[in-house]
Amino acid sequence: MDVLFDILGSANFWAAAIRIATPLIFGVLGALICERAGVLNLGIEGIFVAGAMAGWLAVYLGAGLWGGVLVAALAGALFGLLHAILTVVLGLSQHVSGIGITLLATSVSYFTYRTALPDVSTPPRIAAFQPINIAGLSDIPFLGPALFQQTPMTFLALAFVAIIAFVLYRTPLGLAIRAVGDNPASVEAQGLSVRGLRIGAVVAGSALMALGGAFLTMSAFDAFFFGMVNGRGWICIALVVFASWQPGKALLGALLFGAFDAFQIRLQAQIGQVVPGQVFLMLPYLLSIVALILVARRADYPRALLQPWTKGQRH
């Protein structure tokens, strides 16, 4: 029990939880936008890799850090556009297209990295984002180091939660996006383009996913490693169900997940001699499965998820 309180009582733990949650916040928000518009985007895992590689490479080649973030978002948007053309315009299987996008984005990223840096043995580093101090908030005892000593990308992720919640629930655009994933016929009856809205949502969502990847190479670490995404994208697909497609709950889910992950890392340091390390590494994946099973029966999937739309279609 003492171990538990020691861990939960350290500012360091909460800072780590938020740090671990950040890429997931981007990823869950991205998946949420796509799925709210009716499109499952299993390209997420590969788009994470593409964002991680593209953002890092841009900075390595001389771009500024925010320039790198922009490049990552563009890379994500590009793969999102491809997914949208295949699934929205041509109406092809969202499952297969998503897996294809993941394979393509991953191999394009690995190939580009190998070709740009043919003979490096240790991954080169960049000067990554550093924690910032907003209006002295970081100097508050305990709360400062726990909540406010984060890099700008974390604050960007939090801002996106608010922005997306606002757009989805308080603007006509958000209403249209939600409707297009639930009842596309009603959107068409309004004279809006179902396909246009869906394409836009998938492109924007994919750009967000790529930012999750970029956080890994430009904020959490300062280099690109093969296999560094390691299933984070798939975890986001589980988390978005857990969050019942709501931005606020998505933030909560990602933070819970980050807290759990930070906790197991610290627990590992305490009892790592008794239990093999792999048991701890398995926990995030197991937790995602458990979370999915717990909410599955109550999950209120967007009703038109996975269903392609042809103009003038009647039910």
């Binding site: 897996i99 191999s107 690995y110 190939f111 070709t115 792999q278 590494l281 994946y285 099973i293």
Partner: protein, 356 residues
């Protein structure tokens, strides 16, 4: 003149073949772009790839050796996708099958090869099958999507295998390498030809393809699988036990992926390690889609994908162009065949009348 899309009732065999072939060719052609970017000549690269994959008896054996697990993981995906069961977990099922082979075949049972080899295979099949039956049961009982669960299970299984080969299963004689105790000689699949790596797993794969082909076409189960895949509600209405059929499909699909793991352990490596498969499970999805989910087509598609990998390795050694070219071809093949499937559903018509 204007274009019009018209639904097709049925796509002919020739058209299906054309789409698959076309997808492979377009994927290969598109890869010329990254090859040019890497400063290579596409024609030289293609030449080296063909030579590396088929240029000698050794090259051919390496290609068929690589195709062996791909045939089985391809069949695993093909049979599941036909029933619209999204098994993306072949990678994990492969490892569990390999693990079962090691548990049964490394000294637990002492039998002559004629008994031990089938025992090891059955163990691997059942273990892999259970690995897919569980997510399917979870889906049926709790409504949780099998796609995400099978994907996440891949990571869990590989960590589990890593834990075992660094712990209880670790070979004390392996100079500290994290690999399992070796399989008994009696459990190993014989080589097909002396001095070449091809093994009896290849025959297993081809036989499995033929069995599956007969099953899908000629048996009640095959009919039920097709019916469930085409329209679940209609199948249920027609009195087909949908859930039970799905569980059978899951067992067969996971089992085939498990057999792929048995083949890699008992036919190639002789022991289990956490780097046994360079993504055979994921490539199997591409193989199945390229084959249009046809079992016999899967064998051919697996040889194509294997040739791309083996050829790219050899081309990479000669030119210094990264062998991730192979992964690019695989990914592009999948996307191209997906686009091709559009033309299996629709035909493009010109209407000249409007202009006149």
């Amino acid at each position: 003149m204007s274009f019009r899309l018209e639904m097709r009732e049925n796509a002919s065999v020739g058209l299906r073949l054309g789409v698959s072939l076309g997808a492979g060719i377009v994927a290969l052609l598109l890869v010329a772009i990254p090859v040019l970017f890497a400063g290579g000549s596409p024609l030289t690269a293609y030449g080296l790839m063909v030579q590396g994959a088929f240029g000698s008896m050794f090259a051919l054996s390496e290609t068929l050796n690589r195709a062996t697990p791909l045939i089985l993981t391809g069949l695993a995906a093909a049979v599941a996708f036909r029933a619209k069961l999204w098994n993306i977990g072949a990678e994990g099922q492969l490892y569990i099958g390999a693990l079962a082979a090691v548990l049964v075949g490394s000294g637990l049972l002492q039998m002559p090869p004629a008994l031990l080899i089938p025992t090891v295979m059955i163990a691997g099949f059942l273990a892999g099958g259970m690995m897919m039956v569980i997510p399917t049961l979870i889906k049926q009982r709790f409504g949780a999507d099998e796609v995400v669960i099978t994907l996440l299970l891949n990571f869990i299984v590989i960590l589990f295998v890593q834990m075992l080969v660094e712990g209880p299963l670790k070979d004390p004689l392996a100079m500290g390498w994290p690999q399992s105790v070796p399989l008994l000689a009696e459990a190993k699949l014989p080589k097909l030809l002396p001095r070449l790596r091809m093994h009896w797993g290849l025959i297993t794969g081809v036989v499995a393809a033929i069995v599956l082909w007969v099953m899908v076409r000629k048996t009640v189960l095959g009919f039920e699988i097709r019916a469930v895949g085409e329209n679940k509600a209609a199948a249920r209405f027609a009195g087909i036990p949908v859930d039970k059929t799905m569980l059978k499909v899951a067992l067969i699909s996971g089992g085939l992926a498990g057999l792929a793991g048995v083949g890699e352990v008992a036919g190639v490596k002789g022991y289990l390690s956490a780097d046994l498969s360079p993504g055979f499970g994921y490539s199997g999805i591409v193989v199945a889609m390229l084959a249009g989910l046809s079992p016999i087509g899967t064998v051919i598609a697996a040889i194509f994908i294997a040739a791309v990998f083996v050829g790219a390795d050899s081309m990479s050694r000669a030119t210094g162009i990264s062998n991730y070219v192979a992964d690019l071809v695989v990914a592009l093949s999948l996307l191209c065949v997906l686009v091709g499937s559009f033309f299996l559903r629709f035909r493009l018509r010109y209407d000249r009348k409007l202009e006149a």
